[in-house]
Symmetry: C2
Subunit: 644 residues, 2 copies
């Protein structure tokens, strides 16, 4: 059942006019800034205390723990992002810094392998007493991910060794065997991390521990109830759904509860389905996938439509002005989609990755990399966002990152590791897949021979892609190209000659099997038209509205270009839309223009309600990519435009 | 400046096919039911303890106070409703019950006149220490209103005497003189009540005390701050705006804070403007009136668009799915409008009364009078109303009244006193005004002669009204008829002869001055067409939508008649709408039908987003009056319908 595996970060070098500058921002701005934050070296910023917590835990300084119960994970995510950055660009100073941090981790580690500053410093007697709320295994999971990444990037095993000791200790504490705690974390994360640790070390026990955590979840008698009883808790107000622990995972059919937790769990479930060849578990994943992507996802790839508990609500409930769509949740969706894709070569997974990347994730970070959205609404009217209590989560401008704790480092580690999402290969079938059209060089091995692909892509602004194959000798293998769902027409030329594609496609991939010659070149053209996207009619918030999309990019109207009261604008069905790239705007974006109409305010009095028909006047609308909104003055924004 | 005064309840006998049955429900169902509730005689109902609190305060039984700090006001509102009911239909048993309650009040009254069970029983040392939160003067205000009404209905002075002793005591405690508390209540109510007490007793000190409370509000140094400091409060989270105490009232230009409080205060301000001939205070009222009715009011007459703090938000923020529009607030709007109307004979005030009565107030009570809405949304999708935390205030069915405390008795007292909103007269100008077209008999005195008007109205289902004048001899006076804003055309015949109305109208009233003969009869015809109402373009929630209105009645679509997903329905601009009265439906309602379109679900797959154009199929829509929604099975409801 396991179909393919990603071509690893090491073997993919991104060199892209759109993405490379964003990776540079991570390296040059985000990582140094975050380091200063972790060390409380940013004047005026909220206190982090993260490094200090580890020093106290290591017994090197006196003091109290400060921060969230999951404060350690900030450092873990920073280390993971550093590792990805080092893969292609070793940096002595940065690596020295990371090594010192790893030494500190080792000194903060307890003799039994335990490594968590909150419990070591503040509540040593409280270890493993509140798995539901205390994020203990969650923090362990992030440390594991960081250690695996650092080992892969640098070849230095020390961090991995520290973390293996911790994982071994965890394995000795949890499980179904007598004397062990039969629990699991309130926030899934360690499950996917343990699969990574298994792959990095070859130690099957880590895979089995992951499987245990996943399968134990939601069983009766309910661990969270038993644990709460042991703590003497009388009642609690958050249902097990919030933790995806309302049912054993194999019985879950809809994505419930906290969106980030959900997709982290589903990622691990996909991992386990792949590793164990468990078709039934994969079917569960697909049911959940269909629920999320066909009923509970914004057009931006955002998920979780409720601020309260940052959670999924009900099918088709996707309000635009109160969308939560946390940046981290869209990132988690990419993690999950990436795993699904390796199991089943179906373009819908790569399409969702692309949708989230270019829209609901990228919207989370400003063009300069210095400010962030947690919450990514699809419609903003500052008057209500600033004054309505039920919109208090909506910010009308991005916030400086140091006020946040989870999304900024999550964006950093995703952007720094973007290379791993571009290609996969399937050894037995001699296939190389191109999932994302991002300029890059990738290397793979087919039959023991190195194959190199050099991709030059015009994405996201045009649909021209060139692929040059370099290998030492003719070699028969299959190149599989994703046909993006947004492209109505694809043309492929091999060495200038048009390829007949009929009959060569399956589940959104075009399979080109041939004896490739060194230097063979493909020109691929994806029709990248401006599309008026419509939502399923059950999405009441979008009734009668269209969203403009071109290629993978969703567009929006901003007040800066279109004036106030964007809801008043109507785009006639027949209106022609045309666009062009504007290199001077927002660091270079494609801009869509067309003629719509809006109310002629000349005829409008101050009555609130009137039977008078209103007349309309033309307005030239100007739409910019959604991800680029709120990089100018604060104002209104709108994705879904009324149509008639 | 003071223009007219209402023809009092005593002189107006309603005999109307639409309203009389609702008044009967109040008399036969609501009042007995509420009496049982106040005495904790309803099995399974929430405990009220109200009567018991008074018994404990009177020293007749032992026990603890139970209930809200404003629990006493439930009894006061019940007594007020009882008084209105007794005006036209004396009822020995009911009156005996009320008299016994009044005796109990007397026994619970303290030697100094104080009368509040919460403080007498529970917190005797806490009197007047937290005016901001504790509703002490608010409860006093409701007792005053009840006492005035009971005196007027029965001619028995005892209750009024009790309450005068209380009011005299209050006057000795509050004011600007040295030694007095320079405070006012967090919840305006006593201000309008004291004006009633002044009118009932002729004692000017009550008017002056009302003026003091109103003028003192919001001044610096701020009383609520000083008072909080005295209590040792360090910080509080609700701003003075919530209490309309953010500015002295004469400086307020927008309606802020808790909607019920706001309109109770504005009612008192209008009263004082009238009594003192204070044009500048009336101008303040008009500024606030324009803000509310032109920027912050639902088409149903509902006000207060935020569940959080039950408050006004910002101009044009009128979401339909999260409208709060508390029933009590619409009732308070009627109180205020009624007072504005007496000062300025402008039909806009009577129009708003009519709008609120037939829509946002009547929606608060079920047809059988047994269940209630506090919150009156204009759009309900049960899936989100039941599951979204930010919609938790929205109920999809009315709740049994005993779970509530404020709205049911407020509806009861309004319906029972409806007669006073129908007519006014202006003695010096010899004018009689007809504000509301409700079948009734009214008596007034012109030049010492009795004039009787017998009105037969087809409202709200047809625009035919007949008025017969009966008096002993020919008499010259002016009949002023409101021309409802929704009627595009009015015809008046006097004794069968068409009246030339040109030049006879001012501010929405038609003035007919003539020597009236005994038995003169008017036939008035108001064109009552189905209207497609549009909201001001700044109301973003209603962009591209229409609400159907016919006469004073706003219509809605219900799932029971139109299936699910009401937002999907579009009403073409050219679609003909026709209606008729259906005596068998919902106790008799006018029903509007027409052909709209909705998405052809045949062509819809399970993709969430698609560039495919969708085709439409016709659907015959059926709209019912908004007030009658949720009297069948629970389901979706929609007022604002998409148009194109």
């Amino acid at each position: 059942m396991k179909h393919m595996k990603p071509i690893s970060l090491k073997d993919v070098q991104i060199n892209d006019s759109f993405w490379s500058k964003r990776q540079r921002v991570v390296r040059e701005t985000v990582i140094p800034y975050q380091w200063d934050a972790l060390n409380d070296n940013i004047p005026g910023a909220e206190k982090s205390h993260t490094i200090e917590n580890f020093r106290i835990a290591a017994g090197e300084t006196e003091g109290q723990f400060y921060g969230m119960v999951f404060q350690d994970s900030d450092l873990a995510k920073w280390l993971e992002a550093v590792a990805y950055v080092l893969v292609h660009q070793r940096d002595e100073d940065l690596e020295k810094l990371a090594d010192e941090v790893i030494d500190l981790l080792e000194r903060a580690q307890q003799p039994d392998g335990y490594l968590n500053t909150y419990f070591t410093v503040k509540k040593p007697e409280g270890r493993w007493t509140n798995l539901r709320d205390d994020h203990e295994l969650y923090c362990a999971g992030h440390l594991i991910e960081a250690a695996v990444a650092y080992d892969e990037a640098t070849g230095k095993r020390k961090f991995l060794d520290i973390i293996c000791r911790y994982a071994d200790y965890i394995a000795s504490v949890f499980g179904t065997e007598p004397g062990k705690i039969r629990g699991y974390d309130g926030h899934p994360e360690i499950e996917l991390a343990l699969v990574k640790l298994y792959k990095a070390t070859g130690q099957r026990k880590y895979l089995e521990l992951s499987k245990y955590f996943v399968e134990e979840r939601g069983r009766q008698p309910h661990f969270f109830d038993q644990e709460a009883e042991r703590r003497g808790e009388k009642e609690w107000f958050i249902s097990h759904e919030y933790y995806q622990a309302h049912l054993p995972v194999r019985q879950q059919k809809t994505a419930e509860g906290h969106a980030v937790r959900a997709v982290y769990l589903f990622s691990a479930m996909a991992d386990l389905a792949a590793e164990y060849g468990d078709q039934r578990l994969f079917d569960v994943c697909k049911t959940l996938w269909n629920n999320v992507t066909r009923k509970r996802m914004y057009i931006t790839g955002g998920i979780g439509s409720s601020h309260y508990l940052e959670r999924f609500t009900v099918d088709y409930d996707l309000p635009n002005d109160r969308s939560y769509a946390e940046t981290c949740a869209a990132i988690g969706l990419v993690f999950w989609a990436h795993r699904m894709l390796q199991i089943e070569a179906d373009s819908q997974y790569a399409d969702v990755i692309e949708r989230a990347l270019y829209n609901g994730i990228l919207s989370g970070i400003s063009l300069d990399g210095k400010s962030y959205f947690y919450v990514n609404p699809l419609e903003v009217w500052p008057a209500t966002a600033n004054h309505r209590h039920d919109m208090k989560s909506v910010k009308i401008t991005r916030q400086p990152w140091f006020g946040c704790a989870c999304c900024p480092p999550n964006i950093a580690r995703l952007l720094a590791s973007l290379g791993q999402y571009l290609y996969s290969q399937c050894e037995p079938l001699k296939q190389i897949f191109v999932h994302q059209y991002i300029s890059s060089e990738a290397e793979a091995e087919i039959n023991g021979e190195r194959v190199k692909l050099v991709q030059s892509s015009g994405f996201p602004w045009d649909g021209q892609v060139k692929l040059v194959i370099s290998q030492n000798k003719p070699l028969k293998w299959t190149l599989a190209l994703r046909l993006p769902a947004w492209s109505a027409r694809t043309e492929v030329k091999i060495n200038g000659e048009k390829l007949q594609t009929q009959g060569k496609t399956a589940k959104g991939y075009l399979y080109i099997e041939r004896m490739w010659q060194p230097g063979d070149s493909l020109e691929v053209f994806f029709a990248m038209e401006i599309q008026r996207m419509r939502a399923h009619p059950e999405v009441r918030a979008n009734a009668g509205k269209v969203a403009l999309q071109r290629g993978p990019v969703v567009f929006c109207l901003e007040e800066a270009d279109n004036g106030q009261n964007l809801q008043d604008i109507v785009l006639p069905e027949a209106a022609k839309l045309a666009g062009q790239f504007d290199a001077t705007l927002l660091e270079g974006v494609y801009v869509i223009k067309g003629w719509g109409v809006r109310t002629d305010m000349e005829g409008i009095g101050d009555e609130l309600y009137s039977p008078q028909a209103v007349s309309k006047v033309p307005i030239e609308i100007k739409a910019i990519p959604y991800y680029a909104w709120s990089n100018r003055d604060a104002g209104e924004m709108l994705v879904w435009i009324r149509e008639y």
